[in-house]
Subunit: 150 residues, 2 copies
DNA sequence: TTGCTCCTCACGTCACGTGAGGTGGC
DNA sequence: TTGCTCCTCACGTCACGTGAGGTGGC
């Protein structure tokens, strides 16, 4: 399970204890045996975790179908929940993309210093160096990472 | 600081203790006073945390400039590190986008069950229902969330 | 019989959250 | 003088990581 799902033994045991993976069969010696459906579940849980969701949310998502009285109701609730998850992911992707662009811009600015051999400005007065004083705005990440304005 | 940066008092104190925010001035009564540059740093740290980076990595990133002997060397090291961070973010964005598409597809499939009133198939035999047996593939998320194939 | 893999405690870690009880500063 | 905000411990939490010491199963 662990190797087939890119997780660890500890994680599998933890998810079982947390009630995410169903009480499974055991071999006589105590080894866990899982049906293949649990492997797919483990993979989905791993992806959702990487996407930033808590185990509680994931557990609710997995339990949702069984708590609805009819198929139609289950469908409507699940669709609503999925819409929430998708919205949250859209937000996270946007945040990551904004930050990525800021880091890319910082990279472009700091690349201009690759040939710097100026001991008068580095490291304490980089903010006064003409390289940092071009017309374009210096992104916030640069003034933090390069300790300008002190 | 906390309110201006969308974080909490606890987080500010924790980051100070972790050495991320510099030892700051204190008022006579013990209240912390921060220069505005530390506010921008706190914001950047928060963004990087949300992007999935550990405090250790962030600390190294912030300390990198001071550890280089010359401006040119500092620039080259920082650019290399930023490239790593950017690559990692590209990967995370890709993963999020793939998962988002899978959830969207799952949503579209399960929407077909919104009018279901079939107590013969729901909830244990949804896999045998004709709604699930159309030509298009059922995504993995659906077979997990809808407990098909048991 | 020998290795490698799995088992169960159980403590550690990371990044904070959450009170308890006390003080600052307008 | 009254509130609200900040302070310091210090224990709790979430999602696992990491040994220690033991057994399974080919």
């Amino acid at each position: 399970m662990a190797r087939l799902s890119d997780s660890t033994l500890r994680t599998v045991r933890f998810y079982e204890e947390a009630g995410l993976l169903q009480p499974v069969q055991r071999t006589e010696g105590g080894h866990r045996l899982f049906p293949e459906s649990e492997l797919e579940k483990l993979r989905l849980v791993g992806d959702l975790r990487e996407a930033g969701f808590a185990l509680d949310e994931i557990r609710e998502l997995c339990a949702l179908k069984r708590q609805a009285p009819t198929g139609g109701e289950a469908s409507r609730r699940m669709v609503a929940r999925l819409d929430q998850q998708i919205d949250a992911m859209t937000g996270r992707i946007g945040l990551l993309e904004r930050l990525k662009q800021e880091l890319e811009q910082a990279r472009r600015v700091l690349e201009r210093c690759a040939g710097c051999q100026d001991p008068a400005h580095f490291p304490d007065s980089c903010g006064e160096c003409r390289v940092m004083k071009r017309g374009d705005e210096v992104p916030a990440a640069v003034s933090v990472l390069w300790e300008l304005e002190r």
